[in-house]
């Protein structure tokens, strides 16, 4: 029943709105993610304004947003800003963009399937995500405003006593819905990868993007239920007067606030990898395509990603070194955390091996992929200080942590998303983006981004706490005020530079050059179909004859790539094709 052809739907609703076509759902997720990315970015700029110019009225927008305080940001407003910035960016910008949009676009196309295993479930996944986004965005407008307990929502801060407003409850409900949506998507992704690969598409012939997306989906299936359990208890504590996380709410009740932290980080640490695994996979593929070389250590990269998935499930305690864990437990978590450096280094060195002596083409997608290599390197190295107990106790809850996780989670995943957009935009929309504008966008994103997050590492090392409303209230932090202002100016440039991207996309959708089927001369199956691919993707499901990165093979004449779908090197008029026996020998 899944293999049969289905007629293309014709109505507007079934084709554009309630579509079951994975390519349309991918576009819907991309739009959702980009809208929330814009919103989360504006919140970030407001946070930065307060840190650079504490208590000063916000120019232009302040009089509308903060009219009660004459345009200045109140402490409560500031708390709300950083809570909602984190929540929106993680669950409503990055997740829909990388997992929702590119998971949907890439998995069926790259493994040679006509669609997902469960197209209806896929549609439902998007609409539940949209509903959860509406609930979260709506929480800004309820009495008392949106959530204020930080994106981690630790009780008792997130309990009914500390944050009595409806906003915090809506926050929990929205995240729960988001989890339901993610789970539907993840079950679909794993089933599709297991069941719908084209003939010849073995696991070690799948592109690394599919590996990354599939492994992230496995982690989602295992760990989204854990945060769902925590959110259920939080919601019940808030609305049904139960006492899971707070003591004394009921006679005989003895809740434990730490229980929430355990559950949150049992999910929360894998969540980091859920976000970054797709980016790793995409970068691994893109580096190969634009270096015109096979991915160095392809199998080792896939195995390293899988080992990280396994390790990521047993390291969550490194987020809780300062809560009073037993020292033995802390040491165990530290050792396991440090173990992750081994597969991460394999992955990183394989990236360098891929570009080493390659014929590098600095297309915009490649620039952003190289950007991921840089920022992920920075994030990984700064993570060592937080994984080791001795240094973490000093750096815990400082701006160093903020700089670190923005390098790993925010910058590398943002660059991974942008690399993916620049790479697959022609396939998605059938139009080319302007490469000059894209390069401008890269440099005006990459340089300011480092000016935003690197100084945070220094400030944190100097002892500046994160989530601080008024940095100048501490004498020893006054010296950092020029740094705070530099970060804020860099953040403004970073924000404005995104308008280049918006303009580029809008211009291309309106009047971009038509995209050929394979503009990057890449080798994976999605480049076999026209751009954009027709309904059900392939006229005939292709047979897969080789691995995903066969670039620069000496036996392939006149071009430096051969598609996974090609059984042998194409004949050309100038050079006689290589004899099949040679081609077989090299393929092994």
């Amino acid at each position: 029943m899944h293999d049969a052809h289905h007629a293309e739907p014709t109505g507007f609703l079934s084709r554009v709105v309630f579509s079951r076509d994975h390519k349309v759902i991918a576009k819907q997720f991309l739009l959702l993610g980009l809208l929330f990315l814009g919103l989360g970015g504006v919140l970030a700029l407001l946070i930065r304004w307060q840190l650079a110019f504490p208590g000063k009225p916000v120019p232009i927008v302040g009089q509308y947003l903060f009219s009660a305080t004459a345009g200045a940001i109140s402490p409560e407003g500031y708390t709300m800003l950083f809570t909602m910035h984190g929540t929106i960016m993680i669950f409503f910008a990055i997740t829909p963009m990388l997992i929702g949009a590119f998971g949907n676009l890439c998995i069926p196309l790259m493994i040679g399937a006509r669609d997902m295993a469960f197209p209806f479930l896929n549609m439902l996944s998007f609409w539940v995500a949209a509903a959860s986004g509406v609930v979260l965005a709506g929480s800004f407008f309820v009495e008392g405003g949106a959530a204020m307990a930080g994106w981690t929502a630790y009780p008792p801060l997130s309990g009914a006593t500390a944050t009595p407003g409806l906003g915090q409850t809506l926050w929990a409900v929205s995240l729960f819905l988001g989890g339901v949506s993610t789970l539907m998507g993840a079950i679909n992704y794993v089933t599709t990868i297991l069941m719908l690969r084209a003939p010849g598409m073995g696991f070690f012939r799948m592109p690394l993007s599919v590996w990354g997306l599939g492994l992230a989906a496995v982690l989602n299936i295992l760990f989204v239920p854990v945060i769902a359990a925590a959110l259920l208890m939080l919601i019940l504590d808030r609305v049904a007067n139960t006492g899971f996380f707070v003591s004394g709410a009921q006679p005989g009740s003895a809740g434990d606030p730490l229980l929430f932290q355990h559950l949150f980080w049992i999910f929360g640490h894998p969540e980091v990898y859920i976000l970054i695994l797709p980016a790793w996979g995409i970068v691994s593929d893109l580096l190969a395509v634009f270096s015109r070389k096979p991915a160095f250590g392809f199998k080792a990269t896939a195995i390293a990603m899988s080992s990280i998935v396994v390790l990521s499930t047993v390291v969550y305690g490194h987020h809780m070194y300062t809560v009073g864990l037993s020292p033995g437990l802390g040491k165990a978590f530290m050792s396991l955390t440090m173990l992750i450096s081994i597969p991460s280094s394999v992955l990183f060195l394989n990236w360098l091996g891929t570009i080493w002596r390659g014929s590098i083409r600095l297309e915009p997608a490649m620039l952003f992929a190289l950007g991921v290599v840089f920022v992920f390197g920075m994030g990984g190295l700064t993570g060592l200080f937080l994984g080791a107990i001795t240094t973490d106790i000093y750096l815990h809850d400082t701006a160093f942590v903020v700089g670190h996780f923005h390098y790993t989670m925010a910058a590398s995943v943002l660059f991974g998303s942008l690399a993916a957009i620049y790479f697959w935009f022609p396939k998605m929309f059938g139009r080319m983006l302007c490469p000059e504008l894209a390069r401008l966008h890269f440099w005006f994103t990459f340089l300011p981004l480092n000016l935003v997050f690197f100084p945070m590492l220094i400030e944190g090392y100097g002892g500046m706490p994160r989530r601080l409303y008024e940095p100048t209230s501490y004498k020893y932090l006054v010296q950092f005020q020029p740094v705070n202002q530099l970060i804020t100016f860099a953040a403004m440039v970073l924000g404005l530079a995104q308008l280049i991207f918006v303009w580029n996309v809008a211009r291309s959708l309106w009047a971009g050059e038509r995209a050929p089927a394979n503009p990057w001369e890449a080798t994976t199956l999605e480049w076999l179909t026209p751009s954009p691919p027709p309904h059900e993707n392939f006229d005939v499901i292709p047979d897969v004859h080789r691995g995903p990165h066969e670039h620069s093979r000496p036996d392939v004449p006149d071009r430096d790539w051969i598609g996974q779908w090609e059984s042998q090197a194409p004949e050309t008029p100038l050079t006689p094709p290589a004899p099949p026996s040679d081609s077989e020998a090299v393929a092994v």
Binding site: I187, P225, V226, A228, G243, Q250
Partner: protein, 196 residues
């Protein structure tokens, strides 16, 4: 010829098509995730309970074991009836009968939860016990209600519309997987909350 073939079909219809296998894989992943959900809830309960000097907490009468045992019995019988429906999927009428019995027992289970719930709610000193029961049994009951919804969708199909034989068997198989999972989840809940 085809009649003879139909007679020789094994009682529980095997997974026939690639699509059906995909459905089973998807359902298994879903149940794996459900197991993590109930596991997390039970682990949280264990962590809260371990911090109490005595259990049940001081001043709290023991939870109503007999009523919960009746619940357990009803759910166990419903799982047997669900298995019967699966075995008899070749005959639409018998299959529908067994599905109907399963549904009736499922509804009975939900009704029998009410006295347990009101016993817990009546005594204010239950506190933590009340919270745990509301969470675990409430979550289980919601899933069971969803299972009843799925059965209500499959049952009329067995009697009136097109799906016969293989397709009916495929649908009943998915419902049975979910239903038995809920049985196991309840067993874990019954043992940890009411028995030990």
């Amino acid at each position: 010829m085809s009649d003879i073939a139909a007679c020789e079909v094994s009682p529980v219809a095997p997974v026939a098509t690639h699509g059906e296998l995909a459905d089973v894989v998807g359902m298994s992943l879903f149940l794996g995730s459900g197991a993590v959900l109930f596991g997390s809830l039970l682990m949280s309960y264990a962590m809260l309970r371990a911090q109490q000097p005595v259990w049940p907490p001081a001043g709290c009468p023991p939870p109503p074991l007999l009523m919960a045992a009746a619940n357990t019995l009803v759910l166990a019988v419903s799982s047997v009836s669900m298995a019967r429906a699966q075995i008899q999927a070749a005959s639409a009428i018998r299959c529908a009968g067994a599905l109907g019995a399963t549904m009736a027992l499922g509804v009975l289970f939900l009704v029998l939860q009410l006295p347990v719930w009101s016993a817990l709610r009546a005594a204010p000193q239950f506190g933590l016990m009340r919270s745990v029961f509301l969470l675990l049994a409430g979550c289980h009951a919601l899933h069971l209600a969803a299972g009843l919804g799925a059965l209500a969708w499959v049952l009329p199909g067995a009697l009136v519309s097109e799906p016969r034989g293989q397709q009916l068997a495929a649908r009943v198989r998915l419902c049975a997987m979910f239903w038995h999972f809920l049985g196991v989840a309840w067993a874990a809940l019954f043992l940890t909350v009411f028995v030990f």
